[in-house]
Each structure stands twice: as C-alpha cells, then as structure tokens.
C-alpha cells in the first residue's frame, strides 16, 4: 500500500516506519501487563490470606457505579475502534466525532471514579489512621438507605465475629487492618488505572487536534492506531479490575 506522511531518517520506507511504531506499542503494552501484574500478584496473595476481609471491602464498593463505569469504558473502546475504521476509510468528518466521543466517555469514567473516591473518603475508607470500616454505619447520612446500612452492619459484625467470636472489639480491629490492605490495593490499582486514563486522554487530545486539521487518511493513520491500542489496553485492565475488586464475594450481601 502506498503511504503518506513524514519519513523519519532512521527508516527506509513508510511501511517499515508504521510497522515499527505499531510493534513498538505492542511491546510497550507487554511491559504494562507485567507492571499491573505485580499488583495483581499482591492482590491475589492478600486475597488468599484474608478472604473474608477482602469480601467485606469489596462489598463496600458501589456496584452500580462500577457497572456503569464498565459500560462507559467499553463504549469508549468501541468509539475508539470506530475512529480507527474512520481513519482507515478516509472518513475525515466522522473521525474527530468518534475521537471526541471517546474522550468524553473517558471523562465520564473519571468523573464517576471521582464520585466513588469521594464516597470512600467520606466513609473513612482511605487507608491511614482515620480508616474505619464502621464509620458509615455509625455516622449515617440522612440520604442513606437504612436497609442498606443494616445489611452492611450485619456483614461487618459477621466478619468481625469470624475473626473473634465473643469479642467484637478485637475482631473488628483485625478486620479493619485487613480491609485496609484491600483498600490500599483498591486505590493503588484503580489509581494507577486512572493515571493511565489521564495519559490516554492527553494522547486523545493530541490526535483530535490533528484530526481536525484533516491530517489522517487511508494512507496515514498510525497515530490513531497507536493511541487506539493503548486505549483498548486500558479497557482490558479495567475489565479485570472490575471483576477482581467489585465482583468477588459479592453474594455475601
């Protein structure tokens, strides 16, 4: 295929340049997989050691918001894939639309993530000295659903009893410590993921600007593909984070 665009000095042909860029991105994504892999292992080992406490932690997350976010991110992955198609088939009007949609959906994801973080902050679920699993049930907001709070209290009490049957005080302390590990990992993993989203957003802004200038075409679309690969990867990571952090032990509610 005939290609257009600027040929960098180290390459012989544009074809070679494109292949190198694509392959380079894939290799980079491998390092990203292993980067998250270290966190996955830390998570797996701690989940193995403190199964109950991690279950309690997982149930503190808002499943609805998590599910909505998953859908949002999958949708953004779809619009990203459509951007690549638009570029490949020379649809110069559609391309920026798809890209902007992708960016917006990414923004929605981060917005929802912010709401979730804010909730956790308000409920004293940030690892540190003020971490307290029972804060929410002891300081309910007027808008809180009493049924939900009661369920949460039952679950915490049950789990604390699991740690120490007749002495809820020390059982709760141990539970707090282990749930704190869960939340350290929750914030670590989702935080690192969000950081990747922000980087991806920056890349999107760049290709949107270029696409509005009409620079991408059937013969020159490498940047779109590269950004697309990165964006889809971030999506794949979230698919696993959603399953691991939100879904396991959910039935205990």
């Amino acid at each position: 295929m005939h290609r257009t665009g600027e040929l960098y000095g180290q390459f012989e042909t544009l074809e070679q340049q494109k292949e190198s860029a694509q392959f380079g991105m894939w290799v980079f994504l491998v390092t990203e997989v292993l980067f998250f892999g270290g966190l996955f292992l830390t998570y797996a080992v701690n989940r193995h050691l403190y199964f109950t406490a991690f279950g309690v932690g997982g149930n503190m997350l808002d499943l609805t918001l998590g599910t909505v976010n998953t859908v949002v991110l999958i949708a953004s992955s779809f619009t990203m894939a459509m951007s690549v198609w638009a570029a490949q088939t020379n649809r110069k009007k559609l391309l920026p639309v798809c890209l902007i949609l992708t960016l917006l959906l990414g923004g929605v994801f981060l917005g929802i993530k912010y709401v979730e973080y804010k909730q956790k902050f308000d409920h004293h679920l940030i690892p540190g000295h003020s971490f307290d699993l029972t804060y929410r049930i002891n300081h309910p907001a007027p808008t809180d659903n009493p049924k939900e709070l009661a369920a949460e209290r039952t679950e915490i009490e049950e789990a604390a009893r699991h740690e120490a049957p007749t002495e809820p005080e020390s059982g709760l302390t141990a539970l707090n410590a282990h749930a704190q590990l869960y939340f350290s990992l929750y914030f670590g993993m989702t935080g690192l993921h969000a950081l990747h989203m922000i980087v991806g957003g920056g890349l999107l802004v760049w290709v949107i600007k270029e696409s509005l200038k009409g620079r991408f075409s059937t013969t020159y679309n490498t940047p779109i593909e590269i950004v697309g690969l990165y964006w889809h990867f971030v999506d794949v990571v979230w698919i696993y984070l959603f399953a691991l952090l939100y879904l396991i032990n959910r039935h205990a509610v």
């Binding site: 740690e163 120490a164 007749t166 002495e167």
Partner: protein, 327 residues
C-alpha cells in the same frame, strides 16, 4: 598451620556428613568439566596459535551429535545433583517425632532462647548431644536467620511466620551461630554460641539454673487459669470447648469435616484466630487473644498444651478425630 586454613567447618550434626558428601560430589563433577574445558582451551591456544598473519582457521560449523552429547550428559549430571540435593533437603524439612523443642525469638540484634523447662538464654543455646532438637523460630521485627555452620543448618526467622528447623548434634563442643539474613546495623554481631553437651551434663546444666516460674509448662498452666481458658477447655470433656488432653500431635476433626494435625502452628492459630478452624461439634465462642498475649506467653501456653499430650483423653468432649486417635 594447616588447621588454621580448613576447607570446611567442623562436622557436628547429622546433616553435616550428608551436606559435605553432596559438596564433594558436585565439586568433583564441576572440577571435571572445569579442568577439561580449561585444558582444552590452553591446548588449543598454543597448538593453533596463528603462525602467519593472513592465516584463517578451518571452517567447522558445528556437529549435531556433539551438541546432543553436551546437552544430554550435563543434563543427566545436573538431574543427579538435583535429586541428591532434594533427598537431603526433604530430610531437613521433616523433623522426626521425638524432638526436644526449643524456642528461639530474634529481635534487632539479639537471640532469645527458651529451653523446654523455661530456662532462658541470650545469644547462647545449650543442647544435648545425639538428641533430635527442634527450634521454633519467631521474629519480633525484621527478617533474621539462624545459621549454625558446624551443623550445616540455616533457617530464616520471618516476622509474621513461624519457621521450624531441626538437627541432631553429634559432637560435644562449642560452635558459632550467626544471623545470616541482613537485619540492620548490628547484623554482624547478632550471633552467639551453641554448646553441645553430654546428656547428663545438659540435665545438670538445666537443673542447675531451673526456676519454677521460668518453666514454660508451669507458666503456661498459670496463664491457662488466669486467662480463663480452663473454664471452657475442661479436662474431662464436659466444657463448652474441647478438652485439650492428648490433643497435641493428634488429628482434630473440624466442623467442615476436614481434619488437621494439632501442631504448634495449629495451637498458635487457635489462640490468635480461634475462628479459623472450629472443632466439630463446638460453637465458635472463643475470643481472640491477638494483642493480649506476648510471644513468650503464647509459647508458654503452647508448651503447657503440649504437656497435656500424655494426659488421659476423655471419651467424649475431645476434638480428636475418632479413627486416628492416639494409641
């Protein structure tokens, strides 16, 4: 002068001859290859030295049979080393049943040792010769490592885990022990001496400094009453919790139908996280003692519970699995 430059430390435990034998085997194999390759290189180096500046070597690209030979033969030898090493290792990790149990607690930068009768030592360890010794190792802060070169034994002391190691000293004498996992500023002076004594001397040494309170079994018995364990764990099996008579070393039947061997680890866990394993037929009532007992108190309680091993097991009210009850 020769004794000043030995090639191996004294052989003073059951493991030492095995480890040294393994060492000699691997050394011989390696020497054979190292010497062979070195001689070949030196020989070629002189024999095929370039004699004319324009000379080129004979093009030989390889030989599949030769490659196969030097893949297969080293592989077989390597697997031999692995197997022998595995046999020795399995021996290291399976302590015999009749051990003398000593507790070792490491902290920056000292070793606290507690003899079975409660006698405490700092940076010293006295053991009788020809007796299987088992050390239970705990750390109060960072990772340490208990290393006795003359016994060829070594085990990390990891905070948050209980590690055990065993050995049988075979030669009376005094031997160095070291901390061999880097643990901070005074890592190098965190060591001491193991004294291996004749059994009679050991007994005399023990009784010579014996104190009633220092005996962990006695201390554990007192704690057992003080902490009200005794109110539920009634010896005749009529309490709300199983009798502990004869439990140590036996198979305990759990509520979920599985059985577990009642070893130190199980006892420790049952004290700190009582609900992790519930004995069949009992309610999860026991409180955790996490944070309420010091390491030494847990060791004392464990020692006391172990001493109940020889007590009569009640027909009802023990957690011991029926089919595998102790004879």
């Amino acid at each position: 002068m020769q004794s000043q430059l030995p090639l191996y430390p004294e052989e003073a435990s059951n493991f030492a001859p095995h480890v040294d034998g393994l060492m000699i085997f691997i050394t011989s194999v390696c020497l054979f290859f190292a010497v062979g390759v070195t001689i070949a290189i030196i020989y070629f180096f002189f024999k095929y030295r370039r004699k004319h500046p324009d000379e080129v070597g004979t093009p030989i690209h390889g030989d599949a049979r030769l490659e196969a030979t030097w893949i297969v033969i080293p592989l077989i030898l390597a697997l031999g080393m692995f197997s022998w090493g595995a046999v020795v290792y399995v021996d290291y990790r399976h302590s015999p049943p009749d051990t003398l149990d000593i507790y070792v607690i490491a902290k920056q930068w000292m070793w606290k040792v507690q003899q079975p009768n409660g006698l405490k030592e700092i940076n010293e360890l006295h053991v009788p010769v020809n007796r299987n010794i088992r050390l239970t190792l705990a750390s109060e802060d960072v990772i340490h490592d208990f290393f006795v070169p003359a016994f060829r034994v070594k085990m990390d002391v990891v905070p948050g885990h209980y590690n055990t190691m065993w050995f049988r000293p075979t030669k009376p004498g005094r031997y160095h022990f070291f901390c061999s996992q880097y643990c901070g500023t005074n890592h190098a002076i965190m060591g001491g001496w193991v004294t291996v004594m004749e059994p009679t001397d050991y007994a005399a040494w023990l009784s010579g400094s014996l104190g009633g309170e220092a005996n962990p079994v006695v201390a554990g018995e007192k704690l057992f009453a003080e902490k009200a364990c005794i109110t539920c764990h009634v010896a005749n099996g009529t309490g709300r919790a199983p009798s502990l008579n004869g439990m140590y070393g036996a198979q305990v039947l759990l509520a979920d139908g599985t059985t577990v061997t009642a070893d130190e680890a199980y006892i420790r866990e049952s004290i700190l996280q009582p609900n992790a394993k519930i004995v069949a037929g009992y309610q999860p009532l026991m409180p955790t003692f996490q944070g309420q007992l010091t390491e030494e108190q847990i060791l004392a309680l464990t020692a006391y519970i172990k001493s109940l091993q020889s007590q009569p097991v009640p027909a009802k009210g023990s957690g011991i699995a029926p089919s595998t009850g102790k004879k």
